[in-house]
């Protein structure tokens, strides 16, 4: 009989908790921003290695507290040489996509971002192999591959973090994992390195980028935050011990 009461009372408690929770909702203002980001590791690397100049940046606009639309662009001037070949690549790229903030609004407060970006990238580049040597049984053959302009495109997944270090200025990093879709060069002469993608000799490339971001708030929205309901106790009476029921969240 006591168990029957328990079954009857439990739904009522759930309903009551839900009603309580409606009244427990609160709102917080979240600023939507336009963000202008500059990648800083590329110029830093160029400072120590004059063979790689990668300059890139992006502009993004918050659509809501979770999603931002992103458009990025950049330039690459890449020179590489080793004992058996030289390689040059120069060009530019654009990337477009969305960023998803995985932090809850009451944690991010418009200042913190930890999430994932999805991008599509398009690259226009000119590559050239001024010289290469191949040695075998018959001796050394020297050759070159003439300058040629190609389009390449790729998709990218980029998890990362940003934190506001000063008012309206953020810093953070992104790990980019890119998958090559097409290089336009054919399978024999894939670009060793090309703008926006990186190592074109492989189908998947990865990189780590550091960004400094200028945030320009353009609108504030109020986000409803559901607070936790105070604990409700319920005596099931089955064992005689008092058990605690946690707050029920829809």
């Amino acid at each position: 009989m006591r168990r029957t009461y328990a079954y009857f009372i439990s739904p009522l408690l759930i309903l009551f908790s839900s009603l309580v929770q409606v009244h427990a909702q609160d709102t917080i203002p979240i600023p939507l921003k336009i963000k202008v980001g500059l990648e800083v590791s590329g110029p830093a690397i160029y400072f120590s290695d004059k063979n790689i100049l990668n300059a890139e940046g992006y502009i993004s606009a918050d659509i809501n507290e979770k999603v931002s639309a992103v458009l990025g662009a950049g330039y690459l001037n890449y020179k590489y040489s080793q004992y058996n070949y030289e390689y040059l690549n120069k060009g530019m790229f654009v990337r477009t996509g969305v960023d998803f903030n995985l932090l809850k609004p009451d944690k991010s407060l418009g200042k913190y971002w930890a999430g994932i970006g999805l991008r599509y990238g398009l690259s226009l580049f000119t590559s050239e192999v001024p010289s290469f040597q191949k040695e075998n049984y018959w001796g050394t053959t020297s050759s070159s591959i003439a300058k040629k302009t190609n389009w390449g495109h790729f998709v990218e997944v980029s998890p990362g973090v940003r934190v506001e270090v000063f008012k309206n200025f953020s810093m953070g990093w992104t790990i980019s994992l890119r998958m090559l879709l097409y290089t336009g060069t054919g399978k024999d002469l894939r670009p060793i390195y090309f703008p926006g993608f990186g190592n074109g000799g492989k189908t998947v490339s990865k990189s780590l980028n550091y960004f400094i971001v200028w945030n320009i708030p353009y609108k504030k929205i109020n986000i409803i935050i559901k607070k936790e309901v105070p604990e409700v106790t319920e005596d099931t009476g089955t064992t005689g011990n008092r058990q605690q029921a946690t707050g029920i969240r829809p």
Partner: protein, 157 residues
């Protein structure tokens, strides 16, 4: 705000550590030589079988033999000269000498950033000429010569 500063620094510096860890140099581990792979078949039985001895060298390369009375060779690996469009090999099977002329075109191929470029070749169909002292016949199995382990020609002796 103050209590967030150490956390902010931790987040930013964790990226720097990841960046430093990602800067590891890589080496060349791939095969960079594209050989013509010639399998040796005994004509009487039609079975893949190594001759008792095999000697192979290029024209005017007698002092630098690829195989010198070598035993147990079922697949002979013959490098081609990318500077020319044909190669002439002297092949001595069980002490009997033949010549083999291969006609082909060559084109560059990227192996990897670490290894650089090599040459791939394309055998011109019906352009293999050979003497028939020990060799009975030769068939082209795959005319693209790459770094992959694929049979290109089949020599019956």
């Amino acid at each position: 705000m103050r209590k967030f500063i150490p956390r902010n620094l931790t987040i930013i510096l964790s990226g720097l550590i990841l960046f430093l860890l990602s800067c590891t140099p890589e080496s060349c581990f791939e095969e960079t030589e594209s050989f013509l792979k010639a399998t040796l078949y005994l004509n009487e039985t039609g079975i893949l079988r190594a001759p008792d001895s095999l000697t192979v060298y290029g024209l005017n390369m007698e002092t630098n033999k690829l195989y010198d009375k070598t035993k147990k060779i079922q697949i002979a690996l013959l490098p081609l000269n990318a500077s020319t469009t044909n190669c002439l090999y002297i092949i001595r099977i069980n002490g009997i000498t033949d010549t083999l002329v291969l006609n082909y075109s060559s084109y560059p191929h990227l192996v990897s950033k670490e290894c650089g470029y090599t040459f791939y070749h394309k055998l011109i169909s019906d352009s293999i000429t050979y003497t028939t002292n020990a060799i009975d016949s030769i068939y082209i199995r795959k005319n693209t010569i790459t770094t992959f382990n694929e049979e290109n020609i089949r020599i019956f002796y």
